[in-house]
């Protein structure tokens, strides 16, 4: 085990990814206790200031501290991405397992259902949901979550199908275990790795999708700060205050990069066979 652990630490992607992800998580956690400035405090005198000692990343058009807003904004990104991964995995994985265990018509129907959902990119679902129920973080979660369902269903099904032909499953059948029991006792535990990896990937895609949705106004609503919304506000100020556009985007990029590196590292470690796939 310790040797395995060493190889994990020796994996550069994993190490860098973990450090970045921890920093982002800590920053989000810290924002609940402390931020350099209050994000609701407007200070018109100090508006559009470039980075300085008192405001490390400068201020926006209302004089709000950009570092503080990025810290608080990380909550929306993480929350939306996390819940939508949970929805996708919570519904998709059981569906995939069911299809793999049953095969036949159940399997065929699931795959067609997957095709159907894939025809609605997250943004389109968000557009439909928002058109009816109005914009908001919850609708962004639903839209991204729906899109995650077929992804997890497909991954779980594919990996489970490969397990169903293995000897240990045959042995479990021989001692009289049913489909459900085998799935819970033998298939699911063996899928944990691959699901964790997929979860990391979907989490990073979720951060990007949330940013896109809140940029076009379909995500978290003001006054709740979000990275996408900050970029939207930066757009009209681009010639006056380019720093307003630079830092929230960097925050998104670094977070997504960290998660992707973490996912790559985990994959190399947990499932070397998958190394070059993706």
């Amino acid at each position: 085990m310790s040797r395995k652990f060493e190889s994990l630490i020796g994996n550069r992607s994993f190490l860098i990814g973990t450090i970045i992800t921890l920093i982002v998580a800590l920053m989000a956690g810290l924002s609940f206790l402390w931020t350099p400035y209050s994000v609701s405090a407007l200070d018109i005198v100090a508006k559009l200031k470039p980075p300085s000692i008192s405001h490390w990343l400068g201020t926006d058009h209302f004089g709000r501290d950009i570092l503080s807003m990025i810290m608080v904004g990380s909550r929306a990104s993480i929350f939306v991405a996390f819940v939508s991964v949970a929805i996708g995995a919570g519904i998709g994985v059981p569906l995939g397992l069911w299809a793999a265990a049953r095969g036949g018509i159940v399997d065929e129907m699931l795959m067609r259902f997957n095709d159907l959902i894939f025809a609605f990119p997250a943004l389109l679902s968000a557009v439909m949901i928002t058109a009816i129920f109005g914009p908001g973080a919850v609708n962004a979660i639903i839209a991204i979550g729906i899109f995650n369902i077929p992804v997890f269903a497909r991954v779980a099904r594919g990996a489970a199908l490969a397990l169903w032909v293995r000897e240990f499953v045959l042995a479990a059948r021989a001692i009289g275990k049913g489909e459900g029991r085998i799935t819970l006792d033998h298939i699911l535990p063996n899928l944990a790795n691959i699901l964790i990896i997929q979860g990391t990937i979907q989490f990073s895609l979720g951060i990007l999708a949330e940013a896109g949705l809140s940029y076009v106004g379909l995500g978290a609503q003001p006054p709740m700060p979000s990275w996408g919304r900050m970029l939207f506000e930066a757009q009209t100020m681009i010639s006056l205050a380019p720093h307003m556009a630079l830092f929230p985007g960097l925050a998104i990029m670094v977070t997504v990069l960290g998660l992707n590196l973490l996912g790559d590292g985990l994959r190399d470690f947990l499932d070397p066979k998958l190394r070059y796939m993706r």
């Binding site: 009816i132 940029y215 757009q235 380019p242 556009a245 985007g249 998104i252």
Partner: protein, 315 residues
């Protein structure tokens, strides 16, 4: 060949039908009584009932669905509440911006990504490979609308080389219009190219590890010949799959990036329609985009058969 192709096409049509049921359910049934919506809060019961009769809203859902579907098939997408023009005309006008944008970006990302992927795979482990894949790793993490903002700042605000936004209109000449699409398509293409380069590289590496590649080398073929004649074609299937999936992401990306550049495409149309609660426009745009995504996926499935002729005889 025929059976494989026709099966794919039939599945595509069935998926489209199912998708149309979802869109109908979400945008026609959930919002409630369209007659009341159109007439406003203060309408009298009689007026509402009269309009319901006139528009056929009282008919059973199943009949309403089929007449709605029939209208769609004949190109009748209804009339916009706010613009008072047929939705299909609005879509036609806007698609003349969105479609070229998506296609240019797709072409751009393919032209950039595939050679880089091949190059990186053929020199696996070299500095060039590591650098290219490092850049691709960062490229995947960049949100396209942020990249778009940076491009605007550099090329429009600082260097003043290209327009920051707006669209000249095809009727005002080809070049001015293309000029307003350059930055948006670069912004869309970069993240897509990063993904595509990584897929091309890994798929090619997988194939290069196969026995028949070793055989081809053993019988004396040059590395180059093996790479281009034996490996590349076999490595194309995963690349095609990703290309197909990317098209749907590109369409979605187009909708977002249009907002950065104030381009009058489908994206701006749909967001304006949302703010004005012009559901019939939203419905039309969603149906068009969903149909495009499904059609592209069918095309990708069919192109597998061209790349891999074994599929012709299967099933």
């Amino acid at each position: 060949m025929l059976s494989y192709a026709s099966k794919r096409v039939v599945i595509g049509i069935l998926t489209l039908l199912a998708a149309s049921i979802i869109v109908f359910a979400v945008l026609e049934v959930v919002p409630g009584d369209p007659a009341r919506l159109m007439l406003g809060m203060n309408a009298t019961e009689d007026a509402v009932r009269a309009l319901q009769d006139q528009m056929g809203f009282n008919q059973p859902l199943i009949l309403r669905y089929f007449s709605w579907l029939g209208d769609l098939l004949t190109g009748d997408f209804g009339k916009s509440y706010t613009y008072s023009v047929p939705v299909i005309d609005l879509i036609k006008e806007r698609i003349a911006v969105s479609l070229p944008l998506a296609l240019i970006s797709l072409a751009l990302s393919t032209i950039i990504a595939i050679p880089i992927g091949i190059f990186a795979a053929s020199r696996r482990g070299s500095t060039a490979d590591t650098t290219a894949m490092g850049i691709a790793q960062v490229g995947v993490a960049i949100p396209n609308f942020w990249f778009a903002l940076l491009l605007v700042y550099i090329f429009a605000v600082v260097l003043r080389l290209l327009p920051a936004g707006g669209f000249a209109g095809w009727e005002n000449g080809f070049w001015p219009s293309i000029k307003s699409l350059i930055l948006p398509s670069v912004a869309l293409a970069l993240p897509q190219a990063s993904i595509l380069a990584r897929v091309t590289r890994s798929s090619l590496l997988d194939v290069l590890g196969e026995d028949y590649i070793r055989t081809a080398r053993a019988k004396g073929l040059s590395r180059r010949k093996v790479l281009y004649h034996h490996a590349l074609r076999n490595a194309l299937i995963p690349v095609l799959t990703i290309l197909g999936m990317q098209f749907s992401f590109l369409l979605a990306g187009t909708i977002i990036v249009e907002n950065v550049f104030y381009l009058p495409g489908l994206g701006r149309l749909v967001f304006q329609a949302i703010t004005q609660r012009d559901l019939i426009v939203v419905e039309g745009v969603v149906m068009i985009l969903v149909a495009t995504v499904i059609a592209v996926n069918v095309l990708v499935d069919l192109s597998y058969a061209i790349v891999d002729p074994r599929l012709w005889s299967r099933k």
